[in-house]
Amino acid sequence: MIELLLCAGIAGYAALRVVLERNTMRKLPFLNVVSFAVAGAIVLIVPHPLAVLAAAAYFVGSTLESNAIASTWAGGGKKDE
Amino acid sequence: MAPEFVLGLALLIIGTVASAFPGRRDYLTRLIHLEIPAWGLLLVMLSYDEALALFTFGGVSALSTFIYVRVMQKREAA
């Protein structure tokens, strides 16, 4: 039980840091912490082999999303200058 | 009452008000705000245990975002 509680606590802390951080690019590492904690919590809630697949799918999807956001931000910055 | 149901209704209300009266009156802002009630509706459907509805809704919400983006780009270009 304490494992799940710790995962949820870390996810909540990182979510607060995401919203409170001012710089756009420095939000992304906190979002990465959120997705780590949530992927761990999914497996801790449902200990089933399909849960590993679901956690991997969620993690890869979240990583792809941050990758796309960061790449578009970098490309858009160059285009404006 | 299930917590999913209450949270889903809260998201529906927040998202609907935010996309009806956005801070910047800009179609991009409205489109991003429209994602919030989509997730709220997903949570409400989750509290009624409808697996097929969840699948269909997940697919349709991404597809509708794509169609909105295309339509608005066409209108901007014209």
Binding site: V38, A54 | I36
Partner: protein, 78 residues
Amino acid sequence: MNELVMAVFGAMLLIGAIGTVRSHDPFDKLISLGVLVAGVMPFLADRGYLDVLAATALIAPLSTIFILMAMRREGHGP
């Protein structure tokens, strides 16, 4: 799932929704939307819909990428 854990994830969901509405930059809005999506996932896992979770988790980035396509077209810089 424990009530306390559920309360933490519910709070995370609401933090993501309010952060999406309150922030001004479109990139900040999309990142806060990621927090909202992360808060939805444990509720899907709690009900046991692992297939819906996998499908939803792969569809959610697609709709973000569609919105990013519109932003690249408009030339939103930092």
